[in-house]
């Protein structure tokens, strides 16, 4: 899916021929690399042997779990209400944080923040206590803040960045 999206993005940016050649290159490379590494016992080791050089890293499992949890969001806004009542002043409204985490498309400017958040909120956990979907919203806030801190040095290369 990700490869397909990358393909479409390339197609729109650079024209079909270049995108196709890029897809073929990565596709062929993938085939060769998987054949070469087929006998490795540990899939994680195999992954790094094949793709570490391209800048790929294992996904952050906590973040992946939080994304999964955030996808249960009902967008009801109770976390915002409870946060406001508790007198919290988060840089990112808890509901916006959950929505951002569910999509994992974090564009700080679109969220109305000029720069990544360093300390998300007072971590009083009022939002988490009130969430009908049981989302650990305080951890989502912290995770987004961490993502913001890491934003200067991207950890995961997208297919479009492989040359």
């Amino acid at each position: 899916m990700r490869g397909y999206r990358g393909f479409l993005r390339e197609l729109s940016r650079t024209g079909g021929a270049r995108a196709l050649s890029l897809q073929l290159r990565t596709g062929a490379a993938h085939l060769l690399r998987s054949l070469r590494g087929a006998r490795a016992p540990d899939p994680v080791a195999l992954f790094f042997r094949n793709y570490g050089a391209d800048g790929f890293r294992l996904p952050d499992t906590e973040r992946a779990q939080l994304q999964l949890a955030a996808e249960a969001c009902l967008v009801c806004g109770l976390c915002s209400a409870e946060c406001a009542r508790a007198g919290g002043a988060p840089l990112l409204d808890p509901r916006d944080a959950v929505i951002a985490a569910a999509r994992l498309e974090i564009d700080w400017l679109r969220l109305g923040l000029s720069e990544p958040i360093a300390t998300p909120c007072a971590a009083c956990r009022a939002c988490t206590a009130v969430c009908p979907a049981g989302i650990p919203i305080d951890r989502v806030q912290e995770s987004l803040a961490r993502l913001g801190r890491e934003a200067a040095a991207p950890q995961v290369a997208t297919p479009a960045e492989i040359r």
Partner: protein, 438 residues
């Protein structure tokens, strides 16, 4: 006499308050907000919508005349499986609803929430999307917004307010009013927030809280004064206060010089449900009901009776009577266990509207590709006897001292026929009254 109520929504709270009023020692276990907290400001017993398929009828099928809510209630009552049938058998529906309204009104009044309306007359209320409903009971805030009672209706547009777009809402409102033949002057009134408030527009709850602050109100007076006009009903998005809607409403009426109300909320702008949830919690505390936060792990049984409730934290609450008001999917009363639909605490048998057993069925087999059509999954609930005691598969009461209230009751689909809060109110009180006899 010790009673335990599981579930802190409208049904569970009403049951606990009735029990406490009868001298019982009541503990209420709540896992957190459920669908009551997601409600939009009405407490409909028998609402209908003009442009919606399914649900209770708006007009009489024979002569096409609009039905009063009471007539609609009797339509639901005539459906033998609907909880209203058992709740209203041998009683006057109008009296029963008025008693419940008055009781709830008294419980909520100290928090500044009133319960207005009756089943004798329809209140035409608009929601944040511009959809109109023929409502009956409603909370203060949205309850004052009867469209039929105003000559001119102005939607208040707050630029930048998240979750509310006044222009499409106004178009929708015009279409809905036309469909019911109600002709009113409609306009848009823009409320420009001054600096200090404008930056809160992206987080409506924060704006609502700021509007409770007298200093913020004073800063907003010049802008608010421009909204007013004679004989105008101003419909604000539901952000008039986070907890004290009465005070902000009074301020807004004063500042604008005309009638003000809130639009009925809908997620993601449903602060009215949050206010209701808070006001119920406050009423429980005043009544001396002990609230426990958390989930129930199990119910201990002894010779066909519930003996105690064990909380997930390990606490054991001994009891003489038990009220189950755990709701359906939002509340957690129904869940998917090992891929199958199940009742969470007692493995009670569940039935859809047609009376088919649906517990143990895969949930995905109980949904149809029809947005407004009948969905067996959302109609699933338990069966009870006339005293609201849940029935086992052999149609005998599963436990002789347990009572069910609210959405967990089967025989209706709250998402479609919109009687969820009405059933919660009537069945919650009844379950409390029955449990108090144990």
């Amino acid at each position: 006499m010790r009673a335990v109520v599981i579930g802190g929504g409208l049904a569970g709270s009403c049951a606990a308050l009735e029990l406490a009023a009868r001298g019982a020692e009541v503990a209420l276990v709540s896992a957190g907000p459920g669908s009551t907290a997601l409600s939009g400001g009405t407490l409909d017993v028998a609402a209908a919508s003009p442009l919606r398929r399914g649900g209770l009828p708006l007009a009489d099928a024979a002569d096409g005349r609009p039905l009063a809510p009471l007539r609609r209630l009797l339509v639901a009552h005539g459906n033998a499986a609907h909880p209203y049938a058992a709740l209203l058998r041998g009683r006057s529906a109008a009296l029963e609803v008025e008693e419940a309204r008055a009781a709830l009104d008294a419980w909520l009044a100290p928090s500044g929430l009133r319960v207005v309306g009756s089943v004798d007359e329809t209140r035409w209320l608009a929601d944040v999307r511009g959809a109109v409903r023929a409502a009956d009971l409603a909370q203060s805030g949205s309850g004052e917004g009867d469209l039929a009672s105003a000559e001119e209706i102005a939607l208040v547009d707050v630029p930048g307010l998240a979750g509310f777009d006044a222009r499409p809402a106004l178009r929708m409102l015009a279409a809905e009013l036309a469909s019911i033949g109600l002709s009113r002057t409609l306009r848009l009134a823009t409320l420009e927030l001054p600096a200090g408030l404008a930056e809160h527009a992206a987080a409506p709850a924060r704006l609502a809280r700021r509007l409770e602050d007298p200093a913020a109100q004073a800063a907003l007076v010049p802008a608010a004064a421009r909204l007013g006009a004679p004989r105008r009903l101003l419909l604000f998005p539901p952000v008039l206060g986070l907890e004290r809607v009465d005070r902000v409403l009074a301020w807004a009426a004063d500042a604008t010089g005309c009638r003000v109300a809130e639009l009925v909320g809908a997620p993601p702008l449903a602060l009215a449900g949050y206010r209701l949830d808070r006001a119920l919690s406050a009423a429980l505390a005043r009544a001396g009901v002990e609230e426990f936060a958390g989930r129930v792990a199990s119910i201990e049984e002894d010779a066909g009776r519930a003996a105690a409730v064990r909380a997930e934290g390990g606490e054991r609450l001994a009891l003489d009577a038990l009220v189950l008001a755990t709701g359906r999917f939002v509340g957690g009363g129904l869940l998917e266990r090992d891929g199958r639909l199940a009742e969470a605490l007692l493995e009670l048998p569940l039935y859809d509207l047609a009376g088919r057993r649906v517990d143990g069925v895969r949930p995905r087999r109980l949904v149809r590709r029809d947005y407004e059509g009948e969905q067996p999954l959302f109609a699933a609930g338990v069966r009870t006897d006339a005293q609201l005691r849940p029935l086992a598969a052999d149609s005998k009461p599963r436990l002789t001292n347990a009572f069910v209230a609210g959405d967990l009751l089967g025989g209706f689909d709250p998402a479609r026929d919109r009687t969820g809060l009405g059933v919660a109110l009537l069945s919650g009180r009844r379950a409390g009254i029955e449990a108090a006899k144990c």
